[in-house]
Amino acid sequence: MSISRRKFLGWLGSAGLGVTVGGNASAASNKHFTGYPDSSGVLFDNTRCIGCRKCEEGCNKVNELPAPDKAFDDLSVMETQRRTQAAAYTVVNRYTETPDAGGPVYRKIQCNHCLEPACASACFVRAFTKTPTGAVTYDESVCVGCRYCMIACPFEIPSYEYEKALTPSVTKCTLCHPRIIKGLLPGCVEICPTEALTFGKRKDLLRLAKERIQQHPGRYVDHVYGETEMGGTSWLYLSDTPFQEIGMREDLGNLPAPLLTKGALSAVPIISGMWPVLLTGIYAISIRKEKIAEKEKAQAINAAREQAEADAKAKLDDALKQVQKEKEKEIEMHVKKALEEAAKAQSEAAAKPESKEESDG
């Protein structure tokens, strides 16, 4: 929906009907996303806040939330530090132990509607959307309830309906998105009796905040909280007390949340592209190694067998030769013997005929 709107604005721009709008649209589609142009936000100035809890009441009313345990005019709840809850999209806390301030200091807590929200980046069903109005909206109809958005949110805003068995949802401030698209003010802004809350275009609010700092030197901390925190937020804060002292973390850094996981995500194509190739290669190497080993084994066996055969043959030959020699010797001996015997017989025969003849005769 938002994309088609941007496209539409882009067509307007290219058709020459609105040169500025077209320029902005192309800026929004640029890879370096710095937030939707003309998105809205709210400026909270804690020097004007009196801690009346009217904003909590207004929020409760327009969002049709259940009635709180203690009525909104009961200020005793401020004795403890509270946070957003399933049934309270916004709370105001009082800080009395701030060394720099004269009296108590108040701070309103609700979703800051980051320009590049951690919750939206973390959600695996895209239940969160940063809309061009500036509001970060939540779609309950797809939410699985993994609560990773609550892990991811650096401002600890989203709450969960742990009590519900079948239809628990994440809850958080919507910047009254349904109201602002109708042209109405967010519930908290509308009800605030001291103009501590100012609704407007974020860039205008930023200018306004800086003007106030300039116009009242010494009153404010020289920083608009939310201008750069986590890549910038739609809610902006002015304070007379260091933000750290009223529970606002100053160590969050200026990187938008999606950049924190960009590196890890970019490993996905590398791993899924390179691992199969590498692993197949390793497999091929191990198979080849095995084959070579087998071949070498076979070769070694063959060589050993050949050697053994040759040795055996040589031995056999030797043995045969010896046997032959022995046989030859034996034959020789036998022949010799036979010859000797024959000679003997001959000589005997030569000597005997006389006697034979004698006996014959």
């Binding site: 399933a86 990773y148 969960y160 009590e163 079948l166 691992w275 191990s286």
Partner: protein, 390 residues
């Protein structure tokens, strides 16, 4: 074998059946409480602490300890270390059951479990590391199921289907390693988005690398650990090949684990150096970090090395238990101890007994199913009809 399986099928009151029976009954009661009363009825989860031990233990530890499947099958089928072949099936079974139980545990943890397929069928939040985890776990569970299916098919006598699946072994193994690399590392990367909430000693841009490398350690150690337990309780189911290879598996895997632990120790120290977090080591968190680094990384590394050098199987077995415990400590540290370190102790998380009960219940289901399978199917022995196939 037929006689033995007939005797195991007859139900008997042994200490095992009594204890596991009690746990299962308590678990079923807690299950009813969980799904009728919501998460608040059984857990100590809060808006500050959206993830408790069902994520810290059941998901993070569960997935890490189920890494034996991809580690062993990669060693045998890709790296060609065939002498560890008998370790593949028990490891794949442990892996498959581990992942199945992770998915089961997620049904308890997420608010609307019947919507678990939504990230795939409704809208894909591809910028989320949890999407990567979900997609890989779903796919890898399928891979493990297919990898394990030949065992069941041999048992059921489905020879043709079994032979077909066995042909896919290499493909499945490579796919399994890719998926495991991705989701093991992205479980660590889940916390990259919250640098302001995780103590600097545990938060590092190397978190995905730590989780992946330590999953290899977990896989190797679990194979040794599981084989030790199996040998103790299911020795009669093991065939001569399994019994003969058992010690060489422990020695080989112990040696590999010693090396990987040494590498893991080095990159952990590099991480501290890269972010210049040395000064945190003198704090209370630093002391605990040193316990993890020295007691559960350096010590098992040393013990494995000694065990392998001396061929001392007892040391290797005890070290595998210590290493597995170290993985649990590490995952608990990242997801619970170091998480929300900036909050006052009143806002910190400690599990309720019922959360622990569900985790014990799920582990018990795993043990019971493991026992059911190894006493019936050819896991610890080769099916006589398929011996030549390997």
């Amino acid at each position: 074998m037929a006689e033995e399986s007939a005797s195991t099928r007859k139900f008997q009151f042994t200490p095992f059946t009594i204890v596991s029976g009690v746990i299962l009954i308590v678990g079923l009661i807690l299950t009813v409480l969980r799904f009728t009363g919501g998460l608040a009825a059984v857990t100590n989860l809060s808006d500050y602490n959206p993830w408790g031990i069902w994520i810290g233990f059941d998901l993070l530890v569960g997935v890490a300890l189920a890494a034996g499947g991809y580690v062993t099958s990669a060693a045998v089928y890709i790296f060609g270390l065939k002498k560890y072949h008998s370790a593949v099936r028990p490891a794949i079974l442990t892996g498959f059951l581990g992942y199945a139980l992770v998915v089961l545990a997620l049904h308890y943890d997420v608010g609307r479990p019947w919507r678990l397929p939504y990230p795939f069928i409704m809208q894909q939040g591809t910028t989320s590391l949890l999407f990567e985890v979900g997609a890989c776990v779903a796919l890898y569970l399928t891979v493990l199921f297919i990898e394990f299916s030949p065992v069941a098919m041999e048992w059921l006598g489905l020879k043709r289907a079994r032979n077909l699946v066995v042909k896919l072994t290499l493909l499945l193994t490579i796919f399994g390693v890719v998926l495991s690399t991705l989701h093991q590392s992205s479980l660590g990367a889940l916390f990259l988005i919250a640098p302001s909430k995780v103590h600097p000693l545990w938060y590092s841009s190397y978190l995905p690398v730590y989780f992946f490398v330590s999953s290899i350690i977990a896989g190797l150690s679990m194979v040794i650990f599981e084989s030790t337990l199996s040998h103790r309780y299911f020795q009669d189911k093991m065939d001569p090949e399994h019994l003969a290879e058992k010690d060489s598996v422990a020695l080989g895997f112990g040696k590999a684990a010693a090396f990987v632990l040494a590498g893991y120790f080095i990159i952990k120290v590099l991480g501290i150096a890269a972010d210049n977090n040395w000064h945190y080591l003198s704090t209370g968190y630093g002391a605990w970090y040193l316990v993890e680094l020295l007691g559960f990384v350096a010590l098992p590394c040393f013990l494995y090395a000694v065990g392998v050098r001396d061929k001392n199987l007892a040391i290797i077995k005890w070290t595998s238990a210590l290493t597995v415990l170290g993985i649990v400590v590490n995952r608990f540290n990242v997801s619970m101890v170091a998480f929300n370190y900036h909050l006052p102790s009143s806002e910190r998380y400690f599990p309720s007994w019922m959360e622990i009960g569900i985790s014990v219940f799920i582990v018990t289901i795993g043990v019971v199913v493991f026992r059911f399978i190894v006493t019936r199917m050819p896991v610890l022995y080769e099916h006589p009809g398929y011996k030549s196939a390997h």
